[in-house]
Every structure is written in C-alpha cells, then in structure tokens.
Amino acid sequence: MSNLFYSDIQTVAKKIKNKEISPVELVSSQLKRIEHIDSKINAFITVLKEVALGQAEIAEKEIMSGNYKGPLHGVPIAIKDIFETKGLRSTSGSKVFASWLPNKDAEVVKYLNHSGAIIVGKTNLSEFALGSTTENYHYGNTHNPWNLNKIPGGSSGGSAAATASGMCFGALGTDTGGSIRLPSAICGVVGFKPTFNLVNRTGCFPLSSSLDHVGPITRTVSDSEIWMETLLGEKKAKDLNIGEWNDSVIGIRLAVCRDYFFDDLDPSVEKLMDETIGKLKTIGIEVVEINIDGLTKAIEAQKTILGAEAIAVHKPILDKEKEMYGPETAYRLENYKNITAVEYLDSQRIRAEFISEVLSKTAHFDGLITPTNSITPYDINSNPIENGTANIFNLGKTPLFNLLGFPTLSIPCGFTDEKMPVGFQLVGKPYSDGQILGLGKTIETLFDWQNKLVSNEQQLVKEEKLL
C-alpha cells in the first residue's frame, strides 16, 4: 500500500473502481501514515480517524454493490480547518473557535461528501488564514516536508504539506492573497485558485470577502481538474469546459510582465522562470513580453481591501477578547483599524481600473505566466511579527490575482539553490478555468514532478527517521 502514497488520484481511483484495493484498506493505511509522520510535520489540527473509517466502510459497501460514484469515491483527502464540518471541531486555526462544533457542513464539504471522498482530517493554517507562513500560535507550526526547518508557506500550509508528504490525495484550501498557490509552490505541489466566487464559500470562515477564493491543492494538475469537477458539479464544470482540453497548444499565446513580477527574485528562481519560458516555447507556445500599468497602486489597494474587510469581520471579537488571538494576528488586526472608509472605497475603484487594464493588455493572449514564490522560504520562527503583512509580498507574486479574481494555477518547476521547490503561475481570464487547467496538464508533463516527490520521501526517511 505504501507505494500508493504518492500516486495521483486517477491511479488510485482506478484501483478502487476495479476493486484491487478497498477504501477501508486505503484509509487505514493513510491514517497509519499520518500517525507516523505528522508528529514531525504538524499538518493536521484534527485527524478524523473514527469518522474516516466509518465513511470508508460505507464507500466500500457502495462500491462492492456496484454504486461507484466517481474518481474521488473512497479516496482519502483533507480539508483546511476553516470549513465548517457538522459536529466536528472547526477552529479556523484560532483559540476563539477551539471548541466550536458547527451544526452544518460547509457547501464544499457537502459536495466532497457526496462524491464519496473520505475526509481524513482538518489541516493546520495561519490563525484565521491571516498569514503566509503557517506558524500557528495555538496549534503549532507546520513544517515543510522538503526541509523540516522551513515554513511550508501559508495560509493553507497544512493542506500543502499533507499533500506533498503523501498523507492525503489532495486537500481543500482557501486563497485571499496566495494562500493556496504559495504553499503549493513552496511544498512542491499544484495549487489552483479558480475564478472569484466560482466555488461556493458558504460555511468557510471569511478573511476578506471580496478576495477570498476556495480551491484544491493536489499533486498533479489532472487531480485539480478532478477536484474542480466535484466542487462545481457536473453541469457547471461542463459549462466551463473543465476536463475537455484537447491537449493542443497550437495558437496558444502567453504574456509575461517583467515589471514587479520578476522583481526581487532569488537568482535561482529567475533562472528557473527563464528555463520554464524556454520549455514552453519548445512545445510551440508563443510567449510575449508586455507592460501593465498601475501595478504599485494595485498592490496598495490589495493590502487596504484585505485589511478593511478582515477587521470588519474581527472587530467585535477583537475588541472583547483580544487575548484569545495570537500576537501576530492581533498586531495585524489592530493596525487594520486605521484604514478609513474612503481608503477602502478608493481601493475598490483602483481595483476596477486595474482589472480593466489587465484585461485590455492581455486581450490578445490566453493568459499570463509569472513566478509563484520569489525566494527560498524562511526558517521557522525567523521572522518578526511586524513583518506579517509584508510576508506574502516578499515570499511570492500571488496577491494581485486575488485583486483581479482571475483563475490562477501554480505548477512546480524546479528547486532553488537551497533545494526548496519553486512554482510558476498560469493566469487565465475570468471563467477560463477549464482552459487554464487543460493547458496546465500539458505543461506539467515537461517537468516530471511526481518522481521528485517520491525521491523526497527517501530523503525524509533517511534524514529525519520519520518512519
């Protein structure tokens, strides 16, 4: 069973469908793996052992009686602990909600349950998703599976670390400034932020209501496609052409904007980006450099909008129960109190202008390509809390795509000189999610990444004696 830990969903689903492996065996084996290695990685806040085994038994009976539901049926997955789960602790990574048992499931959890997926646990995150390092004051820090001294990125760091270390076959995350894509890149897995509001957010604790997105973290782009078909439902996925890519890149044109997106990169990241662009050209994709105006103003607008919307949610709790918050979260939220209504509305106006500017400049292209992470991730506990707001902008080039709301896919493309993974982003137009995922599937074949994940397993075992 251990040779399946790094399989993609298609492989494991085929074995389940053909009754070569049973959901109960698979889930039991996955839970054992979590038990063995999560004490070092700390990807999970709550492991749902009994619930998962119960669901696996149901899935097994359904499949044995010929009621196979699809590629997630019987497959162990995880969800970020920011989604409500009926009767199961839903903390949002906070002390405030440490004992909350919701009376319903989040909409996306309902979809996943309906697909027959087995949720093995709820993953660690930055407190209330406000952070990009997954150093959690209340539930401990999540460690990067490629180097346990390094942050996994965040805020969905637990979801990315669990997926990268073979503790689940993908995990659900949220992304307000890069919280799916950044940890995915830093942990060497695939992260997809769909078009704004495409995936239902009901039952997901908000950070910034006009920037929050829900999406999957997986080991391959094909797996992200499977997740999206489940999260959207068959009809909506079909309307968006998800799963209907014909594998041809003839006529595909991608834009590159070097201003801002290629500033302050680690030299090894810059080299990898140039190599990646070179690889795209070799398979016939045209890559053209463009300029985008208004980048600096847009960055400031993103920070203002996030801060204003976050404090609007938290102010009643913060004013009454400040000691319940971790120091970094409290520090950042207190600072957000200074944002005025005029600044917020002005930022939304700047945002609308920026969306028009980007759509206009990319009108003749299928999408944009940029780095995901800019640098090698920090060592855990090396960064002062005052840097919290700047972290996401220092670590990666992800936040502007939340301001735009455009679908954005992060794919692994290599390693920094410190042997930490690097990802790049493919950014599409609104509702071009199917095309971006399809194109991503073709492009990921250029990198042979799954074997690198498996090789890291040998490194984990050798250096950390995890198993």
Partner: protein, 56 residues
C-alpha cells in the same frame, strides 16, 4: 453540542452584532460584463459566464 456560529459566539463570549451575517458568508463586489471587463459602478459580482472570445 452543535451550534451555528452566531449561537457559539453569543453563548461563549456574549458577542452578537453583525456576526450573525457569517452564516451567509457575506460577499459582494466585482462584476465582469459580457466582454469580460468590469463595471466600475457595479459592486455586485454576477455569475455571468462570459463566452465571448477576446482573442482576435
């Protein structure tokens, strides 16, 4: 015992106010029109699936 988020906050901390709205996960903003562009006036995100091809 299972609770809504507003019940939990009220019973645990005595917090009421606008947090009742959490159940709807408030969101607003952004609209892409038929051309895939945005309307500066509109703060309501529509689920319009722009099918128009912007590429020439």
């Amino acid at each position: 015992m299972e609770k809504t988020i507003s019940e939990y906050l009220r019973e645990q901390f005595g917090i009421v106010s606008s947090l009742k709205n959490f159940e709807q996960t408030p969101h607003f903003l952004l609209s892409y029109d038929e051309e895939g562009t945005t309307s500066e006036q509109s703060f309501l995100f529509r689920h319009s699936n722009s099918s128009k091809e912007n590429k020439e």
